[in-house]
Structures are given as C-alpha cells and as structure tokens.
C-alpha cells in the first residue's frame, strides 16, 4: 500500500517500533512514571545484542513486581530485596544465560542491602538495573533509603530529618569500593539526551556480563509524579534540580572496560 503513495521502488525504513523483547501490552504504570522508558531501553538492548532467547530477568517487589508480564524473555519473580540472590542461583545453574535483576530503591537499598552488596562483592556475572526514584511507590509514598533530606513522604510528613531518619544512601559510590563490582554507572531519565546515555550504559552493563568480566549495575534516576505530588514535567525538573546534586551522574567504575 505504502508503495502506492511513495512511488514504486522506494523503500520505507522503520525508524520506530516496539522492541521484540517487550510484550505487546500496555503497562500499568502511572502517567509520567519513567519505569516504562527503562523497560523499553532494556528491551532495545536485548534486541540489539540478540540475546532474548538466553536472557532471564528477575522481577522485584515494588511497582514493577509484575514486569514479567512486559518482557518477552524468561522471568523469575523474587521476594522483596532478594533479586540479586535469586539472580545468583539462576546464573550459577546456566552460566551461558544473561541474567538481569530489576530493582527499586526500597528493594535494593533497604531490605535487600545485604544481597546487593554480596552479589557485587562475589563478582556475580549478573546485571542489576537499579531504579532510584527516592520514594516507595507501590505502598504509597513512604520514605526510601534514597529519599532526599527535607523531602516530604507519607512516613516523613515533616520532611526527612537526618537527626531522625538518617541520610540518603549513594548506592553507586558504596558499591564502587567493592573489587567484584566492575561496571557501575548512574544515569537519569529526565531528558532525551540522558535517556540515550542511559541506554548506552545499560548496553555496556549487559556486555560486561556477556564478556564474563564481573558484576555490573546501572542506577537510573527516575520520576514518581504520583507520590511526589507533581505533574510529569515538574517531576522531571525535580530529578534534574534536586536529585542529581545528591546523586551525581556518570561512570563510577569500568568506563574503559573493553567489551
């Protein structure tokens, strides 16, 4: 049909389509939430590396508990915080598989702190995509370990006060001290340029795993307009203006790794 409009012999290039690694269903995320973009970037990377058939994803507890419905690869749903341990079990059984764990900030940096630190220090050949939106989304906006100082949440109604609630955890900086963690990068979802950078980092993290180099993690600063009480545009601005000063973007380890 299109040939009729554009003239015989003229070939149309597809410049945008749903990645094969994503199931063709609509996602349940709130308007303005950037989880969907992170999912898409992972799926594009899986497509580009041609690894869908040997990739196993680990779903966390949190807003993305059911992202096994969105990825076309095999998926294992894990208990809260335990995704790196589950990923370890999967990977050790079939070392030729590519295994990624998708975790939020409560999952990874509160209840699952031991699991992420030890998976990293063992140098497990897995990739962790760590979505940091500074809040508990699914349970309706409680303080996360990454909640900023003075940030109001449902469990810090007067703002996060270091005297009472302690300080935000900088996961990339923390994990950077570990020998087994070889690729660590923090990226952001607040604009197109940064989204493209995020994709590069995610791709490299997967390639590091495929080259058997060790543990890789990409922290993705992400928005939660619903629980931040903002519209989507304000939320992206809040990442840029409030989160990035506390969670500086960039590579923390493995920038020059050959993959």
């Amino acid at each position: 049909m299109l040939g009729f409009y554009f003239g015989r012999g003229r070939k149309m290039d597809t410049v945008f389509k749903k990645p094969h690694a994503l199931v063709d269903v609509s996602m349940h995320y709130c308007p303005g939430c950037t989880h969907g973009i992170v999912h898409r970037l992972i799926a594009e990377v899986i497509d580009e590396l041609g690894i869908e058939g040997k990739t196993i994803g680990i779903s966390p507890v949190g807003c993305t508990y059911n992202n096994y419905e969105y990825f076309n690869c095999d998926m294992v749903q894990a208990a809260h915080g335990r995704a790196p341990a589950v990923a370890t079990g999967v990977k050790r059984v079939n070392p030729d598989n590519v295994v990624f764990a998708y975790q939020g900030d409560g999952d990874l940096a509160a209840i699952g702190t031991a699991e992420i630190v030890h998976a990293a220090t063992r140098g497990e050949k897995i990739t962790v995509i760590f979505v940091n939106n500074a809040i508990y989304g699914m349970t309706s906006g409680q303080m996360a370990p990454t909640t900023l100082i003075n940030q109001v949440t449902t469990t810090t109604p007067f703002g996060r006060n270091p005297e009472l609630h302690g300080y935000p955890i900088n996961v990339c900086e923390l994990l950077s001290t570990l020998e087994g963690a070889v690729y660590i990068e923090r990226v952001s979802m607040h604009d197109i340029k940064n989204i493209m950078n995020a994709k590069k980092a995610i791709k490299k993290a997967f390639q590091v795993q495929m080259a058997n180099l060790g543990f890789s993690i990409v922290e993705v600063l992400s928005s939660c307009p619903t629980n931040w009480g903002m519209n989507p545009v304000e939320a992206l601005k809040w990442i840029q203006e409030k989160m990035i000063p506390v969670y500086p973007l960039g590579n923390f380890k493995g920038k020059d790794l050959e993959v």
């Binding site: 040997k54 196993i56 998926m75 294992v76 208990a79 341990a85 079990g89 059984v93 079939n94």
Partner: protein, 352 residues
C-alpha cells in the same frame, strides 16, 4: 552390594545429594550441620557443581529459589535458627511450586537456645513455618543409612511434585558415625521441567516463575491446585515403620533419634512381660494417620515420646481420635530421655 563407608550423618546427607544428581548447594554455617557444607565445598568443584557460602540464610534460600527456577536439583542445609530465617523463602518456593531439598539438623530453642539435639521444630516443619497455606514433605530419618536413602528420595519427591522436601534430623544423627551402604546405581527420577526459566531460545513463549496472583479468583484456584497436590502426596508418599503393634499393651510413637531409644525400651519391657509396640512416622508430613487408625483399638493407650514440650502428640491425638488415651513424655533443652525413664513412664500409664 554397593560401597560401604563409615560416615558422619551430615556427610552421608552431602554424599547422598551428590549421588542424587544435585550440583548446587547454597548455605550459611551453623552448628550442628556444618559438615554438610564442608563436604560439598570440597566435592562440588570435582563434579563441576556450585558451592556458595551465602551472606545469610535468607540469601541462601533465595539462591535456592533461583537455581530451582532454572530447573536444577538444589540443596540447602541449616539448623533451627537458620531455618527460621529461611521461612520467607520456603513460603515463596511453595507458592511458585519449586522443587528443592532443605535439611534441618534441629537444635534446641527457643531463640539461640543451644546446639544439642532437639525435635522442637516439628510444628514449624509440618504446620507451615512461613506464611500462607502450604506444606513441605518432611522426612525424619533415624540412622545414617536412612539419612542417605531419604535424602536421595527427597530429591525425587521434590521433582515429582514440584515441592520442597525437608530432611529433619538432630545433632545426634548429624554428628554420629555409622556404616552406610551405598547403592551402585541410584534411583534418580528424570522429571521434565518445561516450566523452568532456562531461556526461550526464541522457540517457545516465555516462562514465568512467580508466587504472586493479584486476582482473587486466580489465587484461589492456585491454592486449590496446591491443596489437591497435597492430598495426592498424602495418599502416595506417607512412610511409616511399625514394630510389634499387633498385640501391644501400649503403643509408643516416636521419630528420628528417639525411635532408636524406644526400640531398646521395647526389649527391656519384653523381659518384664510388657508388650510395647512402636509406630515411627518416617514422613512427619504427610502424617501416617491410617497406621494409627489401624492400631487404634489394639493397645490400652498410646505414648508419644519427643525431644520437645509436646508437638507430634497433637497429631497422634487427632489420628487416634479419642479411641484410646494418648500420653506424652518429653525432654527439652538438649536433654535425652533414658530407656529406664521411658519404661517407668510406660509402667505408670499401664498401672495407673
């Protein structure tokens, strides 16, 4: 005749796992079961398997969850406080219907308690220590030979029903040395696992291993399926040893280590003209209810002897169902009843 070796109980479990085709072990040290880890730390590399000393029991059971998802035969072992930490994972394994073998070499509690033998985790094992309606097959060996045989069997049962099998022993069984005769060829059931997350290879729909079902209708159906499976296991997998029950004056019931003591009590009682029978549940779940029903009218009374404050005795009472009085004798804190102590209790009941 197979190879015969003198082994510690814990080592026999580890060797049995290898012979059953288990190539993945995840655990965390705790007395009195750590020889299982020592043995497998040496042997797993020889057979191309995985041994990981995890950062915690919580991590270990979740590594088990991952390895089982990937279709492997997988083992973890611990002792009471560590098994408490694994309860979250056990519930998830049950919900996701993953096969795995878990060893509990029980020590006395509560809390950190002590490291001496006990059977105080009976309730936790058979009634469901974690959340939700679920069951594990709980096997209670009473010799090192049985630790070997039942560990192999535990892997077969786990795969056959997609369920967790638990081996429940105590420090006496784990630490003592006895001769074990190994089979030349193990009975390893090959079970297809089309549900396993091994990668689609772009040849099938993607598999999901999960225990979450948000829709109540779906979750109820899932639970009904689990319950139907448990009823089938009750029918097919109940194991029990009975001894001298046919004309017993009193039937004693005991499992594991205590059953060995009771067998000696039976000989002592015979010399005094007292007929004592024994029902030894080998599976604590499924509980051998039918065996109790069969002999319920025979003796004057039943006596449950346990290393706890009275746990299995509740299941005995339900199985006997009021037909005869059911008595209890137990020791706690790592204390073991003597043969004379049990015989005195028997006399007290029969003369009372």
């Amino acid at each position: 005749m197979g190879e015969k070796l003198l082994m510690k109980g814990n080592e026999a479990i580890a060797e049995a796992a290898l012979r059953a085709g288990c190539r993945h072990y995840f655990g965390y040290p705790i007395t009195p079961q750590t020889e299982i880890a020592h043995y497998l730390a040496k042997k797993m590399p020889e057979v191309g398997g995985t041994f990981i000393q995890a950062e915690s029991e919580v991590a270990a059971i979740n590594m088990v969850y991952g390895a089982a998802s990937a279709g492997a035969r997988v083992l973890t072992s611990s002792s009471s406080p560590g098994i408490s930490l694994k309860q979250e994972g056990l519930s998830y394994l049950a919900g996701a219907e993953l096969p795995a073998v878990v060893v509990n070499i029980v020590r006395c509690g509560p809390g950190l308690g002590g490291i001496l033998p006990a059977q105080c985790d009976y309730f936790q094992a058979v009634k469901g220590g974690g959340h939700g309606d679920y069951k594990m097959v709980v096997l209670a060996p009473s010799s090192v030979q049985e630790l070997y045989e039942l560990t192999v069997e535990a892997f077969n049962i786990a795969d056959r029903y997609r369920i967790v099998s638990m081996i429940m022993g105590d420090g006496i069984l784990g630490q003592m040395m006895e001769a074990v005769e190994f089979k030349d060829v193990e009975n390893i059931e090959k079970v297809d696992k089309p549900w396993a997350t091994t990668g689609t290879q772009m040849k099938r729909e993607h598999n999901t291993v999960t225990s979450i079902y948000i829709q109540p209708e779906v979750l109820e159906k899932h639970n009904q399926k689990l319950q139907a499976k448990y009823r089938l296991i009750e029918e097919k997998e109940t194991r029990v040893e009975t001894y001298n029950c046919e004309d017993a004056d009193i039937i004693v019931t005991a499992f594991g280590t205590v059953a060995r003591i009771v067998k000696n009590v039976i000989k002592m009682a015979q010399k005094e003209g007292i007929k004592v029978g024994l029902i030894r549940p080998i599976t604590l779940w499924p509980f051998p209810v039918k065996e109790f029903e069969k002999y319920a009218d025979v003796p004057k009374a039943f006596l449950s002897v346990e290393l706890n404050a009275g746990q299995m005795v509740e299941d005995v009472k339900m199985a006997v169902n009021g037909k005869r009085p059911v008595y209890f004798h137990g020791r706690m804190g790592g204390m073991i009843p003597t043969q004379k102590e049990i015989l005195d209790k028997i006399k007290e009941i029969l003369n009372g």
